[in-house]
């Protein structure tokens, strides 16, 4: 026997769970962005906004004003840190939970509410016109990111695509196919695994025997790294590097961010059926927001007064969005036909008329 190939997975972390820099890390070894308090505060503000929004959305669902909603509780650093590493011209292929990324990039909270409230306009992002919409069929979005990256490569544009995927999602063949073609074509794409240890009721150990999810990239001959997904400095640093590699033609990267789903899977789920309360409690000690706040407070960039003011601001912003959401009229029945084809076939047009007829009949009856 001789050795044909060797691999390893590197792990990146700056902040410990208390928000202190790990031994060996100092101002000199910190990434550039982390030396600028304004940059850090921008991220902290976003985390706070995201958590405020998330809490509100869950409440809206509980009171029957929103459909099923997947909370992002605990994922804020993983989502915001990645977003902060992107450029506006890059393209993301999200799943369904990345509100931290979306709001950072410019998706309006009202749009998110509309989507989960059952209205397709929620995907017609006003600001992030080229980003992919929310994606429910698990793992399929990774191929869209690869395809987008292929377009950038063919047109020789200095842009990247970023695909999100969950730990559960990494079991779908589509993910692997996307990594494989990205590898062979050196596409400017990053596959970003948000490993929150659960796929609905299935824990990581039942999802795969792989020691890390990052190593799945080895199968595609890809640069693969792991990061503490609750450490926003590490997340952004690793993502900046991965995106830079992509942008400069060095090829794709898979990044695994280790985090935890502190909430139920969605509002339709009850995690207490299958998950130990102790486990959840332990992970509350690792959660990203407190850790980041401690760091900022320790470095004297943040204090209690600022915190309170920010909370109020965020609450206000969220209330505005909810008001907008409530004021959104239901689309006319024609909406379900008008966006199917650019050139509407006669048959579809006929059915559009049929639907309008019955919808009016229905309204007439309701009013009678």
């Amino acid at each position: 026997m001789s050795t044909a190939a060797e691999f390893n997975i590197q792990y990146c972390q700056y902040l410990d769970p208390e928000g202190k820099l790990l031994p060996g890390v100092n101002a000199g070894t910190l990434p550039n962005f982390a030396r600028d308090p304004q940059e850090l505060l921008k991220m902290y503000r976003m985390i706070t906004l995201v958590r405020t929004f998330d809490t509100k959305a869950v409440n809206l669902q509980r009171t029957g004003k929103l459909g099923t909603y997947p909370s992002a509780l605990g994922h804020e650093a993983a989502h915001v840190g990645a977003a902060a590493a992107l450029r506006p011209e890059d393209v993301i292929a999200p799943v369904y939970r990345e509100i931290g990324t979306q709001i950072w990039r410019g998706v309006r909270m009202v749009e998110i509410l509309r989507y989960w409230g059952g209205d397709e306009t929620g995907n017609d992002f006003v600001n992030t016109r080229h980003d992919f919409p929310w994606c429910v069929p698990i793992a399929t979005q990774t191929l869209h990111a690869a395809g987008a990256a292929f377009a950038f490569k063919i047109r020789n544009e200095p842009r990247c695509a970023l695909a999100y995927i969950g730990d559960g999602g990494t079991s779908e063949g589509a993910f692997y196919e996307a990594m494989n073609v990205a590898g062979v074509q050196k596409l400017p794409v990053v596959f970003y695994i948000v490993n929150n240890r659960w796929a609905i009721s299935v824990p990581l150990e039942q999802q795969t025997a792989a020691q890390t999810l990052a190593q799945k990239g080895i199968a595609a001959g890809m640069h693969s790294v792991q990061v503490d997904g609750n450490d926003i400095i590490a997340v952004r640093a690793v993502m900046e590097e991965a995106l830079q590699r992509a942008r400069t033609g060095e090829g794709p990267t898979v990044v695994e961010a280790l985090t935890y789903r502190l909430s139920d899977h969605t509002t339709a789920d009850d995690a207490s059926r299958y998950r130990n309360a102790d486990e959840v409690q332990q992970h509350w000690h690792l959660e990203p927001m407190k850790r980041f706040r401690n760091y900022l407070v320790n470095m004297k960039a943040w204090d209690e007064a600022q915190e309170q003011k920010l909370k109020d601001e965020c609450a206000l912003q969220v209330e505005e969005a909810v008001k907008d959401y409530f004021a959104t009229p239901t689309a006319p029945v024609t909406a379900m036909f008008d966006n199917l084809f650019a050139n509407m076939p006669k048959r579809v047009a006929e059915q559009r008329d049929e639907a309008v007829h019955f919808s009016m009949m229905h309204k007439a009856e309701s009013h009678a």
């Binding site: 459909g67 099923t68 989507y115 989960w116 409230g117 059952g118 209205d119 397709e120 929310w134 429910v136 069929p137 698990i138 559960g168 999602g169 079991s171 779908e172 063949g173 589509a174 796929a199 609905i200 009721s201 299935v202 039942q206 999802q207 795969t208 339709a268 789920d269 059926r273 299958y274 239901t330 689309a331 029945v333 909406a335 379900m336 036909f337 199917l340 048959r347 579809v348 059915q351 559009r352 049929e354 639907a355 019955f358 919808s359 009949m361 229905h362 009856e365």
Partner: protein
């Protein structure tokens, strides 16, 4: 006799068959510890262990492919696909192997598999959670497609499906998972496959439907009764192969046919039913056939859903049309 919902009847049928046939195994995403996102497999893992009630990794093609391998080697897998909108990655295994293994090997290896999946919408679910694409599967030779419309039929037809020596796609209408309780004797008695169930007899018009739409059709029939129109409501139950005889006999009696399904119209199963009658019952028809279906567009998100799924008004209207 216990009164149970449709989804509880599904659980009962699983439990009965697993108790009586050690070769039956259950697999899927979240079917074990969590008992399925609709609780259709609730309690089974506790009763039969994690070797026979398997929480799989997240991959539908894998679930279907495992079923082929297991079945070919003597097990009877009953697999859950979490929603019908996620069944597509499994199609390759279903159409290229599950339905073909017997024929390919001239009977040497076979595929007694049941794939269960929720069917249809109407409960304000998120995107992709309201699909009813049975017609794609009915076009696959070698596959049975079955859809119960009551707790009793869920129990009896699922038992039949598990015992069938060939693959069955078993569609569970989400809208009536918990719609009504019914007395179901948990005695292991299967109901026949490959036949329609006449839910209501009538003389003026035949309605053929299945799944959750049976409820709307029966309501429409009641409404029409008040107008002195007597409607026969037929539950297809086995959507493929279709029991053409029952439909043709009914049309011979009523002279009129309305077909109701949630799925999009174009090349839906309604088309096949219409074609069968146009081939074999043409001279019985006294009026054009009517199809009341989902439209040929994407199932809309919750806010427009009620404009998409057929309802009593549309069914009543269609029956009127056949009579005018």
């Amino acid at each position: 006799m216990p009164k149970v919902t449709l989804v509880e009847a599904v659980t009962l049928a699983h439990a009965w068959e697993m108790s009586h046939d050690p070769s039956v195994v259950v697999l899927g995403e979240d079917v074990g510890k969590n008992g399925g996102v609709f609780r259709a497999t609730q309690g089974l893992q506790e009763k039969f262990g994690a070797q026979r009630v398997i929480d799989t990794p997240l991959a539908e093609g894998m679930i279907a492919g495992l079923c082929v391998g297991m079945a070919a080697q003597g097990l009877k897998p009953v697999a859950e696909i979490q929603f019908m909108g996620f069944i597509y990655p499994a199609i390759d295994q279903i159409v290229n192997h599950m339905t073909r293994l017997r024929n390919r090997t001239r009977g040497r290896l076979t595929c007694p598999v049941v794939i269960r999946t929720p069917h249809g919408g109407g409960i304000h679910s998120p995107e992709h959670h309201s699909e009813s694409v049975e017609s794609m599967f009915c076009h696959m030779p070698g596959l049975r497609v079955v859809c119960p419309s009551s707790p009793a039929r869920a129990y009896g037809l699922l038992l039949a499906a598990i015992r069938e020596p060939d693959p069955v796609l078993f569609l569970e209408p989400v809208r009536i998972y918990r719609y009504a309780k019914q007395e179901v004797e948990d005695n292991g008695e299967a109901l026949p496959l490959d036949v329609c169930y006449v839910l209501r007899e009538g003389t003026d018009c035949s309605i053929v439907t299945w799944g959750a739409m049976t409820v709307e059709c029966l309501k429409a029939a009641t409404e029409l009764q008040a107008q002195n129109i007597s409607v026969e409501v037929i539950d297809l139950a086995t959507i493929s192969p279709i029991d053409a005889d029952t439909i043709l006999e009914s049309v011979a009696k009523t002279g009129r046919l309305v077909i109701v399904h949630e799925a999009a119209r174009n090349v839906g199963v309604g088309a096949e039913i219409a074609a069968i009658v146009a081939e074999h019952g043409l001279y019985d028809l006294e009026a054009p056939i009517q199809r009341v279906t989902g439209y040929d567009t994407i199932v809309p998100l919750a806010r427009l859903e009620h404009d998409y799924v057929p309802n009593v008004a549309r069914i009543v209207d269609a029956v009127h049309k056949t009579l005018s």
